[in-house]
């Protein structure tokens, strides 16, 4: 069947509808997801279609949502919970880390936790506090959870179906600022595995790794770089845990240069993990140290400042220049300067 042009949001919606239709054990839960159809309208119409027992408006309590999802999973259901915004997942963090992630392990496989946790994440939409965060590293760091983030409507559709079908808990991170982007979606596509990363644009000079909302920005960067004769291999991770290193390694062995971009802060972020792993595995192929282009190590800033924080095309190209050893923003800083020793009080010695 041929693909149709729909928005990212509608693609996720279609994936949820397909899952509800295919498996009666699938139950959607969340705040405002029923009558309202969710604040982003991702579940629009689903309660009317499948009934309030399958698409459930919950009381306003994230720990309650997550903890009851665990109980439903014990009973053989496949809960798909919506967290309204990234910054509201933390009241349920305990249930996610200590229960959702560990129950299969603790019961030696007797109790699977096929829970899907949908979280609209990332910034760039001018929201108030707690509405623009990128919490993926917390989940990637938690053994027992799988983490995915689609970057196109088709991936949105494929990954939500795969996540719900998985017997493992999956954190499904929705790039909220891309909800209105349109793209072709094949609704008749067979169920695809969650694992493999994808080449979003093929190139030969630099490997640029991204996921979720920044894939689009990276593609724009690749286009701009092409105008200057630089060929960028853009890799869309899709799965953040586990990471498909095969594709990244193959690319880095060709290009010798690696740039990783994400909105989340740098320290302890996915970029650090990917840089370390690729350095371990591709050390002899690297022509330059891996470069990270990320948000700063700050709380997500007020809306009027977010354009500084979220990596944009220029900052990504600056990172590409660094990886290529071309003129860039770090030129006046000596990257090989020895680290500044700390004084006894923890401050930098003059």
């Amino acid at each position: 069947m041929s693909a149709q042009e729909i928005t990212f949001g509608k693609a996720i919606s279609a994936g949820l509808r397909a899952a509800l239709a295919e498996d009666e054990k699938v139950v959607l839960m969340g705040e405002d997801i029923g009558t309202l159809g969710g604040v982003f309208r991702i579940t629009d119409g689903l309660m009317q279609e499948f009934g309030p027992e399958r698409v459930v408006d919950t009381p306003l309590a994230e720990s309650g949502i997550m903890g009851t999802a665990v109980g439903l999973a014990y009973r053989g259901y496949r809960p798909v919970v919506e967290i309204q915004f990234d910054g509201f997942v933390y009241p349920s963090f305990d249930q996610i880390v200590s229960q959702v992630a560990k129950t299969h392990y603790r019961t030696r496989g007797a109790v699977p936790m096929p829970v899907t946790i949908r979280i609209p994440f990332g910034g760039g939409i001018g929201s108030p506090e707690h509405h623009s965060e990128s919490p993926e590293a917390y989940f990637v760091h938690t053994a027992g959870l799988r983490v995915v983030s689609p970057s196109t409507p088709q991936e949105g559709y494929d990954l939500i179906r795969a996540a719900i079908a998985s017997d493992d808990p999956v954190v499904y991170l929705e790039p909220k600022r891309r909800y209105h982007d349109r793209g072709p979606v094949d609704l008749a596509a067979p169920l695809r595995p969650m694992g493999p990363a994808a080449v979003a644009a093929a190139g030969t000079d630099v490997t640029l790794v991204a996921y979720g909302p920044l894939v689009k920005t990276c593609l724009q960067a690749a286009e701009a770089a092409a105008g200057e004769g630089i060929s960028i291999d853009v890799i869309d991770l899709r799965s953040l845990s586990p990471i498909d290193y095969g594709l990244i390694e193959a690319s880095v062995r060709r290009t010798g240069r690696l740039v990783i971009a994400h909105e989340a802060g740098r320290t302890g972020g996915l970029g650090a993990e990917i840089a370390a792993t690729v350095t371990e595995r591709c050390f002899h192929w690297l022509e330059h140290a891996p470069v990270r282009v990320t948000g700063f190590d700050i709380p997500y800033p007020p809306a009027k400042l977010e354009h500084h924080h979220v990596p944009d095309l220029d900052r990504i190209l600056d990172g590409v220049d660094r990886a290529l050893g071309r003129a860039n923003s770090l030129d006046s800083i000596d990257p090989f300067a020895p680290p500044v020793p700390l004084a006894a009080d923890g401050t930098e010695r003059a």
């Binding site: 029923g34 009558t35 309202l36 604040v39 306003l60 190590d297 800083i333």
Partner: protein, 392 residues
């Protein structure tokens, strides 16, 4: 093995009351006797009512102005308080300056009455800053978007007050939806266990975005605190006198070592949840209309119209105090606030990128300094854009 206990258990469990709605002003402006609240309304005079009328009128205007500013692109978002003026004014009017308020995001009327400059609210909701005011100046904590979190903060503050032997009370504002959160329930456990001077002020505006209060509570919200050992009162939140009296009563109990009190102010959110919400998707026009008939400002006017006599003199003038005169004075105050607000908004500048790195830590953080320095160099490559010192 003994541990120090600050717990002063209340003597005997409080009696579960009738879930009656306490109301002293009916929607059509009649004064009803209320055994529990009347003692707290002995000082009510016509000028005092005129003052409450003025405050409600000003915050309603502030709210409409901000909704307009959002439509005009000056604000990113605004959470209207329309319909909740009596709940906010009645409770805030009962507070002393030194009492400490822990609000959600909707208490912008309370903030105004705590002395917060409306322009601070604008800067907050346009996305220039997260700090719409200085908590230490207004005795008003930073606004809270994480539903219910502030209830625990109020209890902790009250634990401090208790240790300091202060004659001061902490008050936490939250919505009906918030009562489902673990934090709010844990706050009640702590408050009751330690018997701290705190007031839980729940504005039950019937909705948590699209979810009706019936999804959060199968009985009246005010029934729940009793189970925690906290006396609760259900008051008409559109009746400014009932709210004032109930809050005074709770504050006085707390000041005198009587421990926590819970107030459920039954009101209605007349507007959308925020300017981004479309309430027609989940509630009927009839429901909204039914609540319009219970307007908090109209009922004060109706009461004044029925009770003012020639003996009531206009405090600012020579003539008698009339409803028209009260309205005129209130509108003038609202106009004045709105004019200053508009003028201020026209002057607002956006914060500079230096503000990104400020106040993340109280002490120098060398790794963040590096990021700041690198970003400074990065921006310096472009024409005109520099890191400017300080948020504006």
């Amino acid at each position: 093995m003994g541990s120090v206990s600050l717990n002063t258990p209340p003597t005997g469990m409080p009696q579960v009351p009738e879930p009656d709605l306490h109301q002293v002003l009916t929607p059509d402006g009649h004064r009803r006797p209320d055994h529990d609240l009347d003692p707290w309304l002995q000082d009510v005079t016509a000028p005092m009512l005129a003052g409450l009328h003025r405050d409600m009128t000003v915050i309603r205007r502030l709210d409409t102005e901000c909704t307009h500013l959002q439509r005009q692109g000056e604000l990113a978002l605004w959470p209207p308080l329309l319909g909740q003026e009596a709940a906010q004014v009645g409770s805030a009017a009962a507070l002393r300056r030194e009492d400490y308020v822990f609000p959600s995001y909707r208490e912008n009327g309370v903030a105004y009455l705590r002395g917060v400059d409306p322009l601070g609210l604008v800067r907050l909701w346009r996305g220039s800053t997260y700090a719409g005011w200085n908590p230490a100046e207004a005795n008003l904590a930073a606004q809270q978007i994480i539903i219910g979190a502030q209830s625990l903060h109020a209890v902790g503050y009250a634990m401090g007050l208790q240790r300091d032997g202060a004659d001061t009370v902490a008050i936490s504002y939250f919505g009906d939806g918030a009562t489902s959160q673990g934090d709010v329930n844990e706050a009640m456990v702590f408050a009751a266990s330690y018997h701290v001077p705190v007031v839980f002020f729940c504005q039950n505006n019937q909705w948590a975005i699209s979810e009706p209060v019936s999804l959060q509570a199968k009985r009246h919200i005010a029934d729940r605190p009793w189970g925690f050992g906290i006396p609760a009162m259900r008051v008409d939140g559109n009746d400014v006198l009932a709210v004032l009296a109930a809050t005074r009563r709770a504050l006085e109990r707390a000041r005198n070592g009587g421990g926590p009190t819970f107030i459920e102010a039954v009101t209605y959110r007349m507007g959308p949840h925020t300017t981004a919400d479309d309430p027609t998707r989940y509630r009927s026009a009839e429901e909204v209309e039914a609540w319009r008939a219970k307007d908090p400002i109209d009922r004060v006017e109706a009461y004044l119209a029925a009770t003012l006599t020639d003996a009531d003199r206009d405090p600012d003038g020579v003539g008698p105090l009339t409803v028209e005169r009260v309205r005129e004075v209130s509108e003038a105050a609202a106009d004045q606030m709105a004019t200053a607000l508009r003028a201020g908004v026209a002057e607002l500048a956006d914060p500079g990128p230096e503000a990104l790195f400020e106040h993340v830590y109280a002490e120098p953080h060398y790794e963040l300094e590096r990021q700041r320095e690198h970003y400074r160099l990065y921006l310096a490559q472009f024409d005109g854009e520099q890191l400017e010192a300080g948020a504006r």
